[in-house]
Symmetry: C2
Subunit: 452 residues, 2 copies
């Protein structure tokens, strides 16, 4: 949804070079709202508007523009002014963005950034995507352990301007080993004891993560502990950065979206639903459907090998979609529950035995329940009450098959170190579909032989 | 996963009433880790261990115990000591918990809590579940607008001990109308200007939410703006509380779990996967399967009404599961994408026209693609190349049907003010299954009439 309310005014102010008007626009609202109102502008127009703002506001508003526009600004606007913006941006955000733009452009921009910031960017760029190092920021409130409360506050007031957060202040020794942390709240409550050494106030039992740890595991940890930020250390306990609550929210949201997409047989998307051209989107969706289509082709072969039974007992066909979908649905339920429980670390592959036992009981009970309804309907359709028994027997077996496959496959994937979400509902369904047909036809064959 | 490492030692210390040992255990680790090690204890044992900790640590560790244990402590342990804990707990958490325990117990506990805390609890309890008011905390850093920087810091240091966060300090007028906010960082950076009025430092353009707003909308707002906390006001702009980042993470995670469950045809769960007894779990899952079963029964009726065609042209049956699953899969993709885009507010029901147009094009393209593969297979199975055309024609129509139903139904639900996630993949699939059979049979009838 693009907000077009202020666009004509903005364009007019740009035309008239009305710097005062533009500055007023940039400061009147919360930066996030300002960015929203600028969505309809081109990258060049947006960049011109931002020139009217003071550097701090410019960085803030820029941070709320959508990613495509940010990339366009980096790639098309005057490199020199863009490089000043880069120097002012939060350490983690600018690396993300530089990794996303054209390589040539990134190199050129980087050469214009002051040397200390450049080194910082290059250090962060060295961490592989998906690690804690790649989302952390290096701008940490870091104080030596020798300070008193008053000195700490003074030092903090000097450095706070350039930091993303000061909610936790990290205390390091002379070699930058992490020794502890003090919350801003704790520091403030001891204002009346200015001479107290901060080491007396600091929390020493810190929960830390390593820079090479997996992002999702880190996000889950922060969410569990309700932290505002978590310190990132290297393998020698040197403080290298922090990951803040907003990065954690981003990671959690990205992960939820990815899992939701996999559950719907869509691969992860880099952009929003409406920003991908329709044909590219089709190309993105086609392989997933093709994989499932490949599975469904096996149902043709399965049915073909039983064609004699079907030809002889025509009423069996009527129940085919029902039986196939029942197995798929019970499998979807199990796969969804197990994948979610694995994601939230409630279960691990090690507890597979408890899970499979539960799912077996639940599958049998659900099968009995649906089988009872199925038998009632079967009695109307089948030639005899005895023949109708094919339906409930099949349903009990197929529903149990569904819960077994739906629980075992994600556990197996997790065990192998793969993402269990890859074994999501649609993929479980296609496997259970094939099993369902085989079970149905064999139950029918056996029952019919028994009856004749 | 229950950590049993310290259980024998803990039980022995309890037996010997080794208060020093227990206190050591309570303070040695981060409270979240301590709580983890206590998971294997009964509620009574856990409560006895916590008696050794000082009140502040006790509240912290208690906050990290799992919910079931917390409820058990409230319901079974000595009400008087529990009521002291309640008085110390964060305002939002204790209300959540009191709402979860037995009503009689809650009333009894509430009567033992000091009057001011009791009034606070009752005020929060008045907000309906799902609103901003129900997750907010009333413990806000709130300062009058007349203070200077120095006075503000002094006042803050006096009240900070009892507050959940001091990252934003809210400035109110004498009638508690919200006037602005100052971040702790901004206050600290102006330490060297102690006489400056805080009104000069404060941000006046605040983004606020109303206590009656929907929780999920509030969470999305905070996540968008990267806020640490958002102030909650009543309809007259009185400051009534704040919602902090950890509550937002909880809401986002709960929402992701709920949507994942709906996408797998499971209703929302109050407890974890392993904590629900298997039979209760079966009762929880059965109604969802029964609804889908009800839909599948219609496929029997649909097939029955075309039994003449099926009897005459037996090879059509072989493709039945394939065609039905193709429609379902393309519908799942669309439903998943649209529901996620609606949840993240990327699209609104108002943009239905753009969405449906895209899905129509994508559906046709995907149908053509799968139809081409389907035709190749059909040529092997069908008696003639002409008869095999039934398969691709049906696939194009069914896949397009899938994308249409999968996109329109969630949009319609959102339009009607219902949760679009209720129209998730399994429900879309069952509708497309029925449509698929009708389309298939009609295409076959028309083609066969044409050919004969």
């Amino acid at each position: 949804m693009i907000n077009t309310l202020y666009l004509p005014e903005l364009r007019e102010m740009l035309e008239l070079s009305d710097v005062d008007g533009l500055r007023e626009f940039c400061t009147a609202l919360h930066p996030a709202r300002t960015a929203e109102f600028m969505e309809g502008l081109t990258a060049t127009e947006a960049w011109s508007v931002l020139q009217a703002a003071d550097p701090a506001t410019r960085v803030e508003i820029f941070g709320y523009l959508d990613r495509e526009k940010q990339i366009e600004v980096f790639e098309t606007c005057d490199p020199e002014s863009v490089s000043t913006l880069i120097a002012d941006m939060p350490a983690d955000d600018r690396v993300d963005l530089l990794n996303a733009v054209d390589e040539e452009v990134a190199r050129n921009l980087l050469s214009l950034v002051p040397a200390d910031k450049r080194r910082d960017i290059q250090r962060l760029q060295a961490y592989p995507e998906g690690t804690a190092g790649a989302v952390m920021t290096t701008e940490v409130a870091r104080l030596p352990e020798s300070l008193t409360v008053r000195e700490a506050l003074q030092e903090l007031s000097r450095i706070a301007e350039n930091l993303e957060t000061i909610y936790y202040i990290y205390i390091v020794d002379e070699n930058n080993h992490l020794r502890g942390a003090v919350s801003a709240r704790r520091l403030v409550t001891h204002l009346n004891k200015p001479k107290m050494p901060i080491t007396e106030l600091m929390e020493r039992n810190l929960v830390t993560v390593e820079a090479t740890d997996d992002q999702e595991a880190v996000a889950a940890k922060v969410a569990d502990y309700d932290f505002l930020a978590i310190p990132v250390v290297d393998h020698e306990q040197h403080l290298v950065g922090i990951i803040t609550h907003d990065d954690v929210i981003d990671v959690l949201q990205r992960e939820a979206t990815e899992d939701a997409y996999l559950a719907g047989a869509v691969g992860p998307l880099e952009e929003g639903y409406l920003s991908i051209p329709w044909f590219e989107f089709t190309r993105h969706r086609a392989p997933w459907l093709a994989i499932l289509f490949g599975g469904a082709i096996i149902t043709i072969l399965a049915l073909k090998s039983y064609h004699e039974t079907i030809d002889k007992v025509a009423w069996l066909v009527l129940f085919l979609p029902l039986i196939v979908s029942c197995g798929g649905n019970s499998g979807s339920q199990s796969a969804t529950l197990i994948i979610r429980a694995l994601t939230t670390k409630e279960i691990t592959p090690a507890s597979w035995w408890a899970v499979v036992w539960r799912e077996l009981l639940i599958g049998l009970a659900l099968g009995l329940f649906l089988g009872a309804i199925g038998y009632a309907i079967g009695c109307f359709v089948a030639p005899s009450f005895a023949a109708a028994l094919i339906i409930p027997i099949t349903l009990i077996l197929v529903v149990t098959c569904g819960t077994m496959v739906g629980s075992l496959l994600p556990l197996l994937f997790a065990r192998l170190g793969w993402d269990p979400a890859l074994m999501s509902a649609p993929f479980v369904t296609v496997i259970v579909d094939i099993l369902g047909i085989v079970v149905y036809m064999n139950v029918a064959l056996l029952m019919l032989r028994e009856l004749s």
